[in-house]
Symmetry: C2
Subunit: 552 residues, 2 copies
């Protein structure tokens, strides 16, 4: 039909109203929402005028939080009042304590909040989410968004007030942030970006496609843009990538009274300001002045009398895990960041360090299951499948290696089928013992407590444990095997195999991560695959090999 | 010999000198150290007088840092000067850049420091450790001590200056701290305890044997003791166990100028003081007053004008992980702790929260390998073996369960030995896929993002991934199996078994941790054992069962 290609505007509104009415009647909130999202606020307002009160409230639920005010401005005064009253009545009915959640946990429980959001999404009452979000801390909203699957997440995302978008964005984890940012239109994204602190904005830009990142940068004023560009020049996981530029720098030759007058003019200080930084004329870092010293000093005291010159600044290229370790060891709240010439560039605050520590921990745990990249629990099935397939593929290679070793002894297995029954036990015990040692060593490497002379001591200790536990479990398994199959030879063979495998597991548990690190591979990621390959192969080979020699 | 039972004092000194001289000549530093440790400072001094200069320096290296000054006081003036000179000469020779570590990394690298300590221990030059320790932050010293095996650790421990013992103790991890504290004599322990902040002291007392803890408490003054006892009444992993009592509380009706005068009298504030807490006459918490507001306010302003009344205090019985999450979400530096009646009890600071987060992360990682209790990398072999044996024993039960399933199909295996070769592949792929899902779910539970309605959505997503990856790897494995054994039936059987096992792995990966949590078991600890038991059993049963039906 030609009319569809070049539609008459009035006709189109009529068609859209019909379509919308139909969607609302069918409870198709999602599609109504998508339709409304693309419409101009004035058009939405004129649409609302034509709807019945019930339809109007239902449609209103699907309007984005950030266009709400604009739509309202286009409504006639009577309709505006009418809509407000209808919404109030609905809200009152919903929050009636008799009608819902009588026995449930209170509303400040994360689980209850999540249930509220999911229910609201299902019933198409999206303004209920907006009401909940208004009461919550941005970090909590971010947590709720991360708990939602992709489409539901987008719907809930639209219910965040315009000015809080940036704060929520800041608290979202990388993958979720990237996915939501990719769906936002540029204006919205730039608006949100303006509300972010420089370090978070730099993170966001690094996550976005190049072109989008550049467009955001271009929308900033020149000074801000130059700042951001200089921060973007440092790797994300370095002090330069962690720092903010909201520090307060003072000169050593001013008096506390002068500083206090200046601070009063500022009216507020950036969060986590426990120190001011003392610099010279050429921006060179000279020391720190703790706010608590300012609070307790007389106004006539000079900054130079109160400053500490032995507080080491953080070099901008220091890796973020070293920064985190220092913050943790010295219980810091903030620290100055300097360039190679000792010029003050910015500061790192403890809240960003806490994030680094959390991310490291998540990385370590997820990495062990090959899930390093999968931070979004509700990533699309296809994306998740693809990422996990890699890990399964690597594992398949090692499984086939183990199978190949078993295959070498097909003849033996054919004659003594009990060996096939018992052989997984040998491999499994080795794998568990080895992973214990491996975990300990990986942790030692991560905390910097292993290396520089004590690895030999640890190796001996682990070998000792392997020997003791090897002897213990060799005897237990041998006894059970003899009871089961009534064959003393098999008992002896499995005992020796287990002892050998546990010793080998201890040695590989120490050696594998150390070797991997020397070759620049993260042992937390691939260590356990390599280790179980070794313990499987050694276990099967020792057990079936011994059996071939002894029994045949 | 009777003389040994009732020795003549002079004879004994003579014997001891001979013995010591012998030990030093043989390079037996450790035994010399143990001997000196038990001697009175005056006696050590008189011993030193009788030694040759070289012996004297060697013996001096073995003297504890905390008795150094006392021994020195008992030495004659000439000898004291002589010893000082000899030590200086030695120190100068050691720090001579030509003689050592020319190409090595700088001395502020943890690995270099560790190597220095180990070398010093080996050569018996313990004062070198004392010199290094004097330059290091207590947290770094703690890290070095944790990197040492038990006997070496005790020797290095004795080289810490008396007044820094407490600070190092505070930074040590629980197990190491307990072990070192157990070896300290009570006087030394009480002296160190006095230097600890209340929250750390409470941790220490909770770690020590009851009797020792009570003795430390009794050595405190009454006010301090009552404080500690009230803190000890809260569980270690609750807000009450985390808090300190160094908060500064103010009344709402005073002026900023008055507060500043009070602060000047104090001269310094506790670390991480970003807020003062406002209380009423009866100690009820009313709100917070941020230090940055004080810095930027005029002196005549009332506290009530600047305070924030909407800052929620932390209930003393709140679990520490909830406290950590709030600090992280709201980027807090400190927060007030109140009792059930809203009375201010103390405050929690971000440095303790960082420790909680690190401990949780370590717990999660170590727990997966059954190493939950093993925080000391250099725990004695026997203690480590015993703890790890438990985990191996649990694993053995599951391994025997799997073996029992294989045993059901002995007849089939006897006829088609290729099955024995391929069966570990089916189990292994299921185990890996399941642990991916399990890790994701455990993390979701830990962050509070799973539960309350979205588990069903996750289950469907994981099942979808299991189906996709199951189909993919079923085909790959089938193709490889057909190539290997030239048997189409085996290929078909292994394909179906892998698909089934991956689907089952996805479902168990979601269901097992949820069920465990319902029964109050930590899924991070036992989840993977239960999961691999399921995937092993399902894998073997599906593969061998299908083969029995199809091939026989």
């Amino acid at each position: 039909m030609k009319r569809d290609l070049q539609p008459d505007p009035n006709d189109l509104i009529a068609t859209e109203i019909d379509h919308l009415r139909e969607l609302l009647a069918q409870g198709q909130g999602k599609r109504a929402r998508r339709l409304l999202k693309k419409m101009h606020p004035a058009k939405i307002a004129s649409l609302l005028e034509t709807l019945t009160p019930a339809q109007r409230v239902a449609a209103w639920h699907q309007v984005e939080a950030r266009t709400e005010d604009k739509v309202r401005a286009h409504l006639s005064a009577t309709l505006r009042a009418r809509l407000a009253r209808d919404l109030e009545i609905e809200a009152a009915a919903e929050s009636d304590p008799d009608s819902r959640h009588l026995d449930g946990p209170p509303e400040d429980e994360p689980e209850t909040q999540l249930r509220l959001v999911l229910e609201a999404l299902e019933e198409g009452k999206l303004k209920r989410i907006a009401r909940l979000f208004r009461k919550l801390h941005p970090a909590r909203i971010a947590g709720l968004l991360e708990s939602l699957p992709a489409t539901e997440r987008a719907a809930a995302w639209d219910m965040i007030d315009g000015e809080r978008t940036a704060k929520v964005l800041r608290h979202l984890q990388e993958e979720v942030r990237r996915r939501l940012a990719a769906e936002m239109d540029l204006d919205h994204l730039v608006e949100a970006a303006r509300g972010l602190e420089p370090d978070d904005l730099v993170d966001l830009i690094q996550d976005l496609p190049m072109a989008t990142g550049r467009q955001i940068l271009e929308a900033m004023d020149r000074r801000e843009r130059e700042r951001l560009q200089s921060m973007l020049s440092y790797p994300e996981d370095s002090a330069g990538g962690l720092m903010n530029m909201d520090q307060i720098a003072v000169r050593a030759n001013i008096r506390v009274g002068t500083l206090l007058r200046y601070l009063r003019l500022r009216e507020d200080l950036p969060p986590n300001t426990d120190k001011f930084f003392v610099i010279d004329r050429k921006q060179h870092y000279q020391g720190v002045l703790r706010t608590r010293r300012v609070l307790t000093a007389r106004p006539e005291t000079l900054v130079s009398e109160l400053m500490e010159t032995d507080f080491e600044p953080v070099p901008a290229d220091q890796p973020s895990d070293a920064v985190a370790r220092r913050f943790e060891e010295e219980d810091l709240s903030s620290a100055p960041v300097v360039d190679a010439d000792g010029r003050l560039l910015g500061r790192i605050t403890v809240d960003d360090v806490v994030d680094v520590i959390r991310e490291q921990a998540a990385h370590a745990i997820m990495g062990m299951a090959g899930l390093d990249e999968e931070t979004d629990m509700f990533a699309p099935v296809l994306a998740s499948s693809r990422r996990r397939a890699v890990w399964l593929g690597i594992n398949l290679i090692t499984a086939f290696l183990a199978a190949w070793v078993i295959g070498l002894f097909e003849g033996t297995l054919q004659q003594v089928v009990a060996l096939a029954v018992l052989m997984p036990i040998v491999a499994s015990m080795g794998g568990i013992a080895g992973s214990q040692t491996l975990t300990l060593v990986i942790r030692g490497l991560a905390t910097g407590q292993l290396g520089g002379g004590n690895t030999r001591i640890l190796l001996l200790k682990e070998a000792g444990i392997g020997l003791l536990n090897g002897l213990l479990w060799a005897l237990v398994v041998a006894a059970l095997a003899i009871l089961w199959f009534g064959d003393w030879a098999i008992g002896g063979i499995i005992a020796v195999a287990i002892l050998l495998n546990l010793l080998c597991a201890a040695l590989s548990g120490v050696a594998i991560p150390l070797l991997m690190r020397r070759f620049g591979i993260d042992p937390a990621l691939a260590g356990s695959v390599v280790l179980t390959t070794v313990t499987d192969i050694v276990g099967f080979f020792a057990f079936l090999g011994l059996a071939t020699v002894v029994l045949l």
